[in-house]
């Protein structure tokens, strides 16, 4: 028996050893195949496999290779290897501790659930879809404006696969009316789950249409992630009692926080803190000049402080899921960050979807009680 136990331990250790060295294969493939392949692709001589990879994942390569030197693309490819190794080892460490340490396993399981209640979700549903009435108007308006560019339409991702054309004004208006009706039904809690899935589909489709003019916009990123999970939250709500532990709400919070974390890591990994150089922000501000940016651009100190502030907020935002009681630090920081981006660079809108998603970090049961009490009193009074 002891022999089998020892053998078992030995095989487990061997698996761990193999897993720890697995990225080496990727690194070898990268240096002996991918790097030379990039050099060939840069010279316009890609093999069939690299051509498929570029066409599918990096079509911008054909434009960017005219703008940047070869070193730029080799560095990018090296970054892919560094980043995948970082993610791989983080995941491996997580799985190791999850299997080995009972305490860690309990904490990890508890982490993926948050306590919530049906009342709070009802208020979240009303706020979220009331906002979507406004946002759908904005998107429909943008699509109507893009009519003048329809000759430049280049179908994006699945639009291209399904050969979906750019809609005309009447189709867009019809979609807008259907979309708004769906939101009203959701707010009134009629056929909520079905209407939410339909609304999500329209939202993704409209985004695809707006991105089909050779520019991807990140303005709706966090609200899209939250929306993708919203049907699961509604499903959980209907299947649970008044108070319950929700995984979908917690996943929404993690996704929002991860967006900020990845955004800051991207900056650090790409620029190794030279991003904090005031000249960098000055150049970006000069591209998107506003009345306020004209003043800020004059000061090295302000440019440095704004850069440090932005990266600090983005890098630390993930702590909001670990320390929910201190959420106001990151909520206020995030509001200042996004409002600053609007005022300094004219990026985003006043009713910013990045700020709206912060509603998912709050419990709204008290608001529900306040309005239901008021409604009850008014009803009693009128009777």
């Amino acid at each position: 028996m002891e022999f089998f136990s020892e053998m078992n331990n030995l095989s487990k250790n061997s698996i761990l050893f193999v897993l720890a060295f697995l990225p080496l294969i990727g690194i070898l493939i990268h240096y002996f195949y991918l790097r030379p392949a990039i050099v060939y692709a840069y010279q316009g001589e890609s093999d069939a496999f690299i051509k498929i990879v570029l066409d599918t994942l990096y079509p911008r390569f054909y434009v960017e290779k005219e703008r940047f030197d070869l070193a730029f693309f080799l560095t990018k490819a090296d970054q892919v290897i560094y980043r995948s190794s970082i993610v791989y080892y983080c995941l491996l460490s997580f799985l190791y501790f999850y299997k080995k340490k009972e305490y860690f396993q309990e904490r990890a399981n508890a982490f993926f659930y948050t306590e919530t209640n049906v009342k709070s979700i009802s208020v979240l549903r009303i706020i979220f879809f009331s906002y979507f009435i406004y946002l759908s108007y904005e998107l429909v308006d943008e699509l109507i404006a893009k009519q003048s560019l329809r000759l430049f339409y280049k179908p994006f991702h699945f639009l291209s696969l399904a050969n979906i054309p750019f809609p005309n004004t009447y189709t867009i208006i019809t979609i807008g009316i259907i979309w708004t009706s769906l939101h009203i039904l959701i707010i009134l809690n009629k056929k909520t789950l079905l209407c939410t899935i339909l609304s999500l589909t329209i939202f993704l489709l409209c985004q695809c249409w707006t991105f089909s003019f050779e520019k991807t916009d990140h303005g709706y990123a966090t609200i899209t992630y939250v929306f993708l999970l919203f049907p699961f939250l509604l499903d959980e709500q209907t299947k649970n009692t008044l108070l319950f532990k929700s995984w979908s709400l917690q996943l929404m919070r993690i996704s929002i926080a991860m967006v900020y974390l990845l955004s800051s890591l991207e900056k650090i990994v790409t620029s190794q803190f030279s991003w904090l150089n005031p000249d960098n922000l000055k150049t970006y501000l000069s591209f998107h000049e506003t009345a306020l940016s004209k003043i800020v651009i004059q000061s090295d100190v302000l440019c440095f402080l704004f850069s440090v502030g932005s990266i600090t907020i983005q890098l630390s935002f993930i702590l909001i899921v670990f320390f929910p009681r201190l959420k106001w630090i990151w909520i206020i920081g995030g509001i200042i960050f996004h409002t600053g981006t609007l005022l300094l660079m004219n990026i985003g809108i006043l009713l910013n979807p990045w700020i709206l998603v912060y509603i998912f970090f709050f419990d709204w049961a008290n608001v529900y009680d306040f309005f239901s009490d008021k409604f009850r009193k008014e009803k009693r009074f009128s009777n």
Binding site: L57, Y58, Y62, V63, E66, R67, K76, Q79, V80, R83, S84, V87, F112, I144, A145, K146, Q147, S148, L149, R150, L151, F152, H157, L204, Q207, C208, F211, F213, E214, K215, T216, H218, A221, T224, Y225, L228, L229, F232, W247, S248, L251, I254, S255, M258, V259, L262, S263, L265, E266, K267, T270, S271, S274, W275, N277, D279, N280, T283, Y284, F287
Partner: protein, 130 residues
């Protein structure tokens, strides 16, 4: 690890968020957050494209894409991509068809700003129905 709805969705969402970070590319609806991540080190990162438009009365003005309801950023990307694909003529033809008949001639310019000077390159002059 149990294979239930929660675990499947958690894995999809977190993978969806991490894959664009690893591949450094946008994969809709999961996007890469590289906006403004790269420090400005090369002159080419400062390049801008501008268009001078001449109407039927011979008046020459700086073309404002917002007049046709398009954001300057989207228009800049289009201009740039057509230029690097050597399709500026096609870009001009599409622009003529997308704007009113009063637009007769467009002059496409590329501007690169560096510390010492501003380089301007005239990409071409294009006429309607040329």
């Amino acid at each position: 690890m149990v294979l239930n709805k929660k675990n499947i969705m958690t894995t999809i969402m977190l993978t969806g968020l991490l894959v664009p970070f690893i591949l450094i590319t946008d994969i809709f609806p999961f996007l890469r957050f590289g906006m403004f991540a790269e420090p400005i080190k090369k002159d080419i990162q400062t390049e801008r494209f501008i268009i001078y438009a001449t109407n039927s009365l011979g008046e020459k003005t700086l073309f404002n894409p917002q007049k046709i309801g398009v954001s300057p950023n989207t228009f800049h990307y289009l201009c740039r991509n057509y230029y690097y694909r050597n399709e500026s003529k096609l870009f001009a033809d599409k622009l003529f068809l997308s704007t009113s008949d009063s637009l007769n001639k467009i002059e496409l310019l590329r501007i690169v700003i560096n510390e010492k000077k501003t380089d301007t390159l005239k990409i071409g002059v294009f006429l309607r129905n040329e």
